[in-house]
């Protein structure tokens, strides 16, 4: 019988890092990531891992240290949240451009101002164009599984790119979920030994990392970087099927929930998918043909798979937990781009929810489902973009 444990998201990820035992980790405290690396520090202090842990003076330095360590020729991981990820911004591009297979847990948090420590996706969405692979996780179990798989994707000889594993701050990081941990042996066997390419520490073969590259080659570099991203889909799926064999848990590029015969559908990332699934079950009992699509891989974005999953729908509502002010929100834009080639496009609306940790409650999902049902029956013309779950002032 499987041993089930109840832990927080941060504890689950710290446990994954313990099992992986990377060569070097770097970290800087930031809410809500802090207690993940705090827990990992306990593992270091108690000798449960022999990772060299760099407790640096900023997130910018955390990622810079990871870049140096990764170039050095070993396995590297870090973790951050919100403003910490924002502070890393310049180095995100360096990590991917330099082909450093760093794995980073991102505990999603809103960005200032106003200062807010709670969940939204502005941090990771701000990093979506940085050349990092992004995996998103609904709950503690998915975050744990994604983190383990992330090393295999990042370090794959054809990929050699950094991966961020996103998990909702507080909602998942600080709440307890039921977990099925793999054994230490199984994790070690799954991630395997790290094989460095062009290791800087190979003094027999001195390498110069990070040259100045001007107009003659830069453009071609970026084109190839894009093509490497295109091959991430197949690697992600191959790693997932190997992981399924090991764990019995199945992951794809995205998850469809009751979409097969649906007329209306919700697209949402991370933890809100759980609430949506419950409400979809309820609506289904009342005869509403509604389903859900939850992208797991956001970078690279699986346009074709998304289009085929949504092609038969009449109305789709994209729920975004971040915004692009004065424009459609990031997830909506990708869904719109996915649907554009279709001849019969669903009506597409964008609803912004849960910024700065605003609770996303079952009644909010219900309202979204009702709104889509109204559009379906031509009862309502809906504004394309709207904030939901706003406070009602009297």
């Amino acid at each position: 019988m499987k041993k089930m444990t109840a832990v927080t998201g941060n504890e689950a990820l710290a446990e994954a890092l313990r099992q992986i035992n990377p060569d070097v980790c770097a970290a800087y405290p930031i809410t809500p990531q802090t207690d993940m690396m705090q827990q990992f520090s306990d593992f270091v202090a108690d000798g449960l891992v022999d990772t060299e842990l760099m407790l640096v003076e900023s997130e910018h330095s955390a990622l810079s240290a990871c870049i140096g360590a990764s170039a050095g020729g070993g396995r590297v991981a870090t973790a951050t949240s919100g403003p910490g990820l924002a502070l890393m911004w310049e180095m995100l591009y360096v990590a991917s451009g330099m082909r450093c297979p760093i794995v980073m847990a991102v505990v999603n948090r809103a960005l200032s101002a106003p200062l807010n420590i709670h969940c939204d996706h502005s941090d990771a969405m701000g990093a979506r164009d940085s050349g990092w692979i992004q995996l998103w996780s609904e709950n503690q179990q998915e975050a744990y599984d994604n983190l383990i798989m992330a090393f295999r994707i990042a370090e794959h000889p054809d990929i050699q790119l950094p991966v961020m594993v996103c998990m909702d701050g507080f909602i998942i990081s600080h709440s307890v979920g039921v977990m099925d941990f793999l054994s230490d042996d199984a994790v070690q066997r799954f991630v395997g030994d790290f094989t460095a390419q062009d290791a800087l520490l190979d003094i027999e073969r001195p390498a110069s990392y990070g040259p100045l590259i001007l107009t003659d080659q830069y453009h071609e570099y970026k084109k190839e970087q894009n093509e490497i991203m295109d091959s991430v889909f197949a690697v992600t799926e191959a790693v997932a099927s190997e992981f399924e064999y090991l764990s019995g848990r199945r992951y794809g590029l995205l998850e469809s929930y009751r979409l097969e015969d649906a007329e209306i559908g919700i697209v949402v990332l991370n933890s809100a998918a759980g609430t949506c699934k419950d409400m979809i079950d309820e609506a289904r009992e009342n005869g509403v043909k509604v389903g859900l699509l939850k992208p797991r891989l956001f970078r690279p974005f699986p346009y074709a798979a998304v289009a085929s999953a949504l092609s038969h729908l009449k109305v789709v509502c994209v729920l975004d937990r971040s915004d692009s002010f004065g424009a459609f929100a990031p997830l909506y834009v990708e869904i719109a781009a996915s649907l554009y080639p279709l001849e019969n496009k669903p009506v597409l609306i964008n609803r912004i929810y849960g910024l700065g940790g605003r609770d996303f409650m079952p009644e909010h999902v219900e309202a979204v489902i009702n709104e889509m049902a109204d559009i379906l029956s031509r009862k309502a013309a809906a504004p394309p973009k709207k904030y939901i779950s706003l406070r009602q002032y009297v």
Binding site: E52, S64, A65, I67, G68, G74, M98, P211
Partner: protein
């Protein structure tokens, strides 16, 4: 130790910085890097922040470095190399690496005094085993001589030009060597390529000490200083002999002057050959010259008081 630093012995060693680099003719930084690498016998892994040295030594598909070298950005050379050094320790601990090697940052003053100070401070505090060399040319030379925290008082730069209302930079430069020493690191020093034996002794000593080390090395830039292409050595000699650039070391908190100029030259002799100080010689700016001289004297007296020269030193 020092016999290996005789030029005749050094001349039999391979230069680990190759020719074909694109630093300006007569660049002081190139001489500094060459001397530092000649002084170290171990394999070296180096790192440079974005800057003159970096863009001129590694332009795709060429590299002048014969040793492992990394550049990642402008503000993080210290911590980038600290990451490499940490990976080295991790792999050594796990039996995947056995070589003994030295880790050296070569950074300009902009990447050290200013934008790189936070990451440098963190690296010094955490005790990484590396040597940080600042080649100090006193301005952002790579972008065209903008003032930095290292630019001396009075200097005219492209962002502190000597105009009719403001006569150049009106702030004094930071004392970065003291700032580094205040981290209680085992070794901090100042050196000049004109005094090559002193410079290379300091590098050798620094590399022999475990933990974080810092050496600030004067690095003339005739483009930014508006002097002559052949004067990198002669002008740094003047910097030392006018006491503008004292040669000293701080080892485990103890300051020691490593060279006392035989006769004290007036600061003017260092300033006069440099176009960036030309306006200081106008009558209305005489106060600036006096001010600069007074500051040099005060700083010298304080240094001498904190660390008298070793009796065996000249």
């Amino acid at each position: 130790m020092t016999s290996t630093l005789k030029i005749k012995n050094l001349a039999s060693k391979e230069n680990r910085l190759a020719p074909g680099h694109r630093m300006c003719q007569g660049c002081g930084a190139a001489i500094v890097v060459k001397m530092v690498l000649l002084a170290i016998d171990k394999p070296v892994v180096a790192c440079s922040p974005t800057g003159c040295l970096e863009v001129t030594t590694c332009i795709s598909d060429y590299t002048a470095w014969k040793i492992p070298w990394i550049h990642s950005a402008f503000e993080n050379a210290a911590v980038t190399l600290a990451g490499v050094e940490t990976m080295y320790r991790a792999l050594k601990k796990r039996g995947k690496m056995s070589h003994d090697m030295a880790f050296v940052v070569f950074a300009g003053d902009g990447g050290t005094y200013d934008i790189g100070l936070q990451s440098l401070s963190g690296v010094m505090e955490r005790g990484h085993d590396l040597l940080y060399i600042c080649y100090d040319n006193g301005a952002y030379m790579n972008t065209g001589t903008q003032r930095s925290g290292a630019t001396p008082f009075g200097a005219s730069t492209t962002t502190s030009p000597a105009g009719s209302a403001v006569p150049g930079k009106l702030q004094v430069r930071k004392d970065i060597t003291k700032i580094m020493a205040a981290h209680n690191i085992p070794y901090a020093a100042q050196a000049s390529p004109s005094h090559h034996l002193d410079l290379m002794r300091k590098v050798q000593k620094a590399v022999s000490i475990p933990g974080p080390k810092f050496i600030n090395i004067l690095s003339p830039c005739h483009r930014g200083w508006r002097s002559k292409a052949d004067d990198a050595i002669s002008i740094s000699r003047l910097a030392v002999n006018t006491r503008f650039w004292p040669l000293y070391e701080i080892e485990n908190g103890k300051t020691r002057m490593t060279h006392i100029p035989k006769e004290k030259l007036p600061l003017e002799t260092f300033l006069r050959p440099q176009g960036r100080f030309a306006h200081l010689f106008r009558p209305e700016n005489a106060w600036m010259l006096e001010d600069s001289q007074r500051r040099v004297d005060t700083e010298w007296e304080a240094l001498i008081a904190s660390g008298p020269p070793h009796t065996s030193e000249r």
